[in-house]
């Protein structure tokens, strides 16, 4: 735990936490921060530019979209969608992935083989394709997006953590715990888990970045949270059709996604350095 506290001295981690705090505030207090209801349409003021540009309306600080909805309000409510997916999907993927990884790495043998083959099957699908197919089967909605991300991304945790568990399990103190009469469950929770925790936390923050991107992708394709809920991917899909009339509508959600992903990646990178985690980088 002291290592986690030590990481708070790293500039990267602090900057990242600051950014995440701001985005999280937007998500939590969206109702107070947004000047308009994100679904309110004003068909007399469609595609107005941001307030500072020529023809801008001060009551719509960042302009309106093709249905006359306030872009700023949709960005703020979009943060809520993105953060909900980031937090719950990555926690879900972490729980499934790390339980399977610990079981697999600790017990070895047939269980390890079965879980290993399961990961192989999952990995033979490009993640984007697998999540699309899952969304076809599940249908649209916020909960469905979270479930799809969990079902696709548990393998990231499982694969990386299993290797770590394998190394930790060979240490003498794990054998000593068994000799002292710890059950397998106690050994895993009290001896193995603390040693794999730094890697787990690092992976969790990187997974949050991935979840934000996946949510944006699914909403962009039209298979995300559903039309009634504002999402950055949806805003991009809408703005793409009117890119000549109002380029800001395209650039602002892109910026929002980029900053959110950057914050989580920066946090992951900072944690990796300060917690001294050796991470096999296999990308997204």
């Amino acid at each position: 735990m002291s290592a986690v506290l030590r990481s708070l001295r790293s500039a990267r981690v602090l900057i990242a936490l600051g950014m995440i705090f701001c985005i999280a505030c937007c998500a939590v207090f969206a109702g107070y921060l947004a000047p308009h209801d994100p679904g309110d349409q004003n068909l007399l003021a469609i595609l107005t530019p941001p307030a500072w540009a020529e023809g801008g309306d001060p009551s719509y600080p960042l302009g309106t979209d093709s249905l006359g909805r306030c872009v700023l309000s949709r960005l703020i409510y979009g943060a809520r969608t993105a953060m909900l997916v980031a937090v719950f999907a990555s926690l879900g993927a972490m729980i499934i992935g790390s339980i399977l990884a610990h079981v697999s790495g600790y017990f070895g043998g047939a269980i390890d083989w079965i879980i290993g083959r399961l990961v192989d099957v999952w990995m033979s699908f490009p993640p984007v394709i697998l999540s699309l197919i899952l969304m076809v089967g599940l249908g649209v909605g916020l909960g469905k997006v979270i479930l799809a991300v969990v079902l696709v991304d548990w393998t990231r945790f499982c694969r990386v953590l299993r290797a770590e568990v394998l190394v930790v399990t060979r240490h003498d103190y794990v054998a000593a715990a068994r000799l002292l009469g710890f059950t397998h469950w106690q050994t895993i929770v009290r001896e193995v888990l603390p040693a794999t925790l730094p890697l787990l936390i690092t992976l969790l923050s990187l997974e949050m970045a991935i979840a934000v991107v996946v949510e944006a992708i699914l909403s962009f394709v039209g298979l995300g949270v559903g039309a009634d809920q504002p999402a950055w991917g949806q805003m991009i899909a809408d703005a793409r059709q009117y890119v000549y009339q109002s380029p800001w509508n395209l650039l602002l959600p892109i910026l929002a996604i980029f900053l959110t992903v950057l914050a989580f990646n920066l946090l992951g990178d900072g944690l990796r350095r300060t917690l001294d985690v050796r991470l096999a980088e296999t990308g997204r």
Partner: protein
């Protein structure tokens, strides 16, 4: 060495067959969760209930799920993936018509990613210990945070909309003929001697390929750098230095060669993910590949087509993994003796 590689390919294929069977079964089950009736969808809306029932029997939908799966998989093995419900064409031939365009895009993107990744990795390694290191390092985290989907939109905006220097929709300019020889447009246009079509196809391919390449280069960069770091602790680097070799010669002739192995393994994994990433780039640039076909199929709940495309993506990934493993054996002398 040839026998080792052949043995490896044979072994990989043996593993691939059960994986494909399980994947196809999973695919089949997930898509059967849909609350749509393919029989009703393939008939006109004024069809009677009896007609729908007859169609269900004809399509085999009244049989139990495992039997339906066996029928589908045995048809698929004979090259029959069923008919697309929305497009009313053979799903297999639809996939075959769009797969080459996607492969062409993925290969070009991989080449760009490899060039940028190796260049950037060498740069990252070169600036180690200098004042530039934190700057370059931060830039690499920034780059890592822009997925292919955002690169696609950013490049479209900058080069297509703002600067208007490159085209950003379709495969060639409208009005130009699309020759069909092997299915790969760049190759085909050269084969039929249409340089104008070739140049148009190239300019249309630049933005999507660069967008994908840019998104996948940072991971290659970072892995190359960390394997270079590892290798510089090895004795043979110190020895090369004692022999008086120049630093650049040590880096390029000794270290890079050995650092390329872990990088190649990663590039293989990346290529599988990159192949999936083509889907988004194709949608953004209206590029007529398999990804666009997939998104249309998904929007229409076109089950036979989704199954055919899903399975194709999976087969391509397995083939890529096998190829990367074979390369690995060819390049790594330590693995040849076994």
């Amino acid at each position: 060495m040839v026998t080792t590689v052949l043995k490896l390919i044979a072994r990989r294929l043996l593993v691939a067959i059960p994986i494909l069977l399980i994947v196809s079964a999973l695919l089949f089950c997930v898509l059967r969760m849909l609350p749509v009736d393919p029989a009703a969808m393939s008939l006109p809306p004024n069809a009677t209930i009896e007609e729908v029932e007859a169609k269900r029997r004809e399509m085999g939908l009244d049989k139990p799920l495992p039997q339906q799966y066996l029928i589908w998989i045995s048809d698929a093995l004979h090259g029959d993936f069923g008919r697309s419900i929305a497009l009313r064409r053979d799903a297999g031939s639809l996939v075959a018509a769009t797969l080459p365009a996607t492969i062409q895009l993925a290969v070009c993107a991989m080449i760009i990613a490899a060039i940028l990744g190796v260049g950037g990795g060498l740069l990252l390694f070169h600036v180690r210990g200098t004042l530039l290191e934190p700057v370059v390092d931060l830039v690499s985290v920034l780059l890592l945070s822009i997925p292919e989907f955002l690169w696609g939109l950013i490049l479209l905006f900058v080069f297509g909309v703002a600067l208007q220097v490159l085209p950003f929709t379709g495969e060639v300019s409208p009005g130009l003929p699309i020759p069909h020889v092997a299915g790969f447009l760049l190759l085909d246009s050269l084969l039929v001697g249409r340089l104008d079509v070739f140049l148009s196809a190239c300019s249309h391919l630049i933005l999507p390929a660069v967008a994908l390449g840019l998104a996948f280069s940072p991971t290659i960069m970072r892995v190359l750098r960390s394997s270079l770091f590892d290798i510089y602790h090895e004795d043979y680097i110190a020895q090369a230095r004692l022999r008086g070799l120049s630093e650049s010669r040590i880096l390029l002739r000794h270290a890079l060669k050995n650092a390329s192995l872990p990088t190649l393994t990663l590039a293989g994994v990346q290529f599988g993910i990159l192949f999936g990433g083509t889907l988004l780039v194709e949608v953004i640039y209206s590029y007529p590949g398999m990804g666009n076909l997939m998104v249309d199929a998904v929007r229409n709940a076109d089950l036979p087509l989704i199954q055919a495309i899903g399975l194709t993506y999976c087969v391509v990934v397995l083939i890529i993994n096998t190829m990367v493993d074979s390369f690995y054996v060819v390049l790594n002398p330590k693995l040849r003796v076994r």
